[in-house]
Symmetry: C2
Subunit: 384 residues, 2 copies
Amino acid sequence: MKKKLFSVLCGLAMGLTAFGQQAIFGQRNQIVSPQINQDGTVTFRLSAPRAQKVEIQGDFIQRRAEMKQENGVWTYTTGDLAPELYSYKFVVDGIELLDPSNLERSRDVKSFMSTFVISKQEGDAGYLYAPHDVPHGNVSQVWYDSPTLGINRRMTIYTPAGYETSGKKYPIMYLLHGAGGDEEAWITLGRTAQIMDNLIALGKAEPMIVVMPNGNAGQKASPSFQVGPEGRAKASYQESFPDIMNYMQKNYRLKGGAANTAICGLSMGGGHSFSISMMNPGTFGYIGLYSAAVSMGGRGGQAINADLPDDAPAAKQLKALFAAKPKLYWIGIGKTDFLYDQNKNLRSYLDKKAYPYEYFENEDGHIWKNWRIYLSIFAQKLFK
Amino acid sequence: MKKKLFSVLCGLAMGLTAFGQQAIFGQRNQIVSPQINQDGTVTFRLSAPRAQKVEIQGDFIQRRAEMKQENGVWTYTTGDLAPELYSYKFVVDGIELLDPSNLERSRDVKSFMSTFVISKQEGDAGYLYAPHDVPHGNVSQVWYDSPTLGINRRMTIYTPAGYETSGKKYPIMYLLHGAGGDEEAWITLGRTAQIMDNLIALGKAEPMIVVMPNGNAGQKASPSFQVGPEGRAKASYQESFPDIMNYMQKNYRLKGGAANTAICGLSMGGGHSFSISMMNPGTFGYIGLYSAAVSMGGRGGQAINADLPDDAPAAKQLKALFAAKPKLYWIGIGKTDFLYDQNKNLRSYLDKKAYPYEYFENEDGHIWKNWRIYLSIFAQKLFK
């Protein structure tokens, strides 16, 4: 039987001479890249014998670094890297190229990047972002009808391990993406399934359902399932949000109530979380603004700062929101984020009104690294 | 509010100077590629001002074609293309590159390709492979325990539109991938969700659940969720298959019985379908072998041909299988498939024994184009 199998495998391999014979086996690429070394450095390799200049560009180096060539293989080794998920590309004579030896790649809006994870110990950032041998939640791409928008739309839903068989009810977190993103953003670059699987397995987060909708009101789905051209939205995403909540209530076992319902998001999704929570006081017990584009959700066109008059629509809505006493209003932003001032202004208003909130400030700017950190922190604070 | 939104958008765009500031908006790429023209031709474009030679390689041309350069933009236009899903890459001075202007790309085992779909009328192959404004089924990545293999494993499940709310029971199709593939193969390059959505909407296929497991017994999941190194399998995939069926019976509303259960697969998955159906006579009413690696599933090490003795294990199993009178035993293969002879030999045995089967032969070889066609044909024959 073994001999037989071997001959079949050879036959399969021989069948793959032309491109038309699409690969059943991958190319047996001898190049290992990225290679994560014992000392915490990472070595990248690219075979490009005819190239004049090969550079590497990534979020672990300043600008670009030149790679060195030997026998047609270009190499670059980093310094010791901190635990994190990293993204990079090669630049071959000015042309951007993903690492052909690395199957890990993610789309960010309209561009793709090769990725890898560095983890040094259980529980560090890299550990949270990598899959481990723990119980895994399921991830579904689900279509729902939005009567408000008049279209059928797709969203991504994470159900924690055991959901299917436990018969129990669960709390829910709505997790919203940024401008230009879609329902695939949080599950790919955001590493939501890995973060939730690992936090739950470590006992650091409660098992919860996570809903990642598409926040572009005119769009039915991401480019991977684009259905016809993008239409003109009949209503705002914020106005249509109850359609999503209704779908979840009908089709999933939810504990229900503000104490079991969270909303959070990054950038535009932070703006959405800001405004959707204001439009629905008493609905969300936990509200998380990650690098939030506060003014995108800024209801009524007035800037939110200490000077906001009490009769402004946003002031009235924030008053109603905080009168319902959410358990947590959480704001996270990086020191160099270009939305830092918007968030500072929002905080100045919350301070003036003595509306309670938690604030987390860290390094860096408007980047996925921070959004994964904010999700990891926020998820641990929920439903306890 | 519009002015405000515009200024936020500008702010967002201005925040994107460094790579470290990962894109919230995509690069505003002026290049349109691929451009599907009115006359059925397709134009590809790549900006590469410093390149010496740019070629395009795809399953719509023989070998490679040279692209022509003007002002740093390289162009190639095809002839009139038949309805189909096509794959291609650029080759820039010897380096393979996906089309940076095309977000549609699929992984085939260990390599990625840019893709596009040509459709000329409703119901043609290209139409079936593209998303349309019809009810969509949900697609889930589901983890199940395999006691036989001793590991937790991932599979992809398509539930037809309406499954969640109808309360009805459904028939089920198990759809198996080829060697080197995994639980993502059929849903990406195989276009299963699009094919099923469209066939069901056209009234050409019954609404059914489609299960796409991972056929590599030592593997927990595809590279996109690789959990630790690949282990040594405790048992064969075929032996572990009832674990999958048990999971489906427990967790989904299945009509049950052979009349409502199909198994099919491509290449190695065809071999798996061949042997799993033989090992479980009376379980599958519909069996589909697509370019099947018959000898990979060839139970007992004997070649299946007209000379197979009646006391060979495979002969006994086939006898039991056909004694249970499956409604359909379907074999599909291309004329230039390198597994053509194996399938011819299998047919010679079935003919000799007068075991009933349907046979479909078409052009081309061991390629995804054929496997999508076979799925489209086979799915229309089920559960009627």
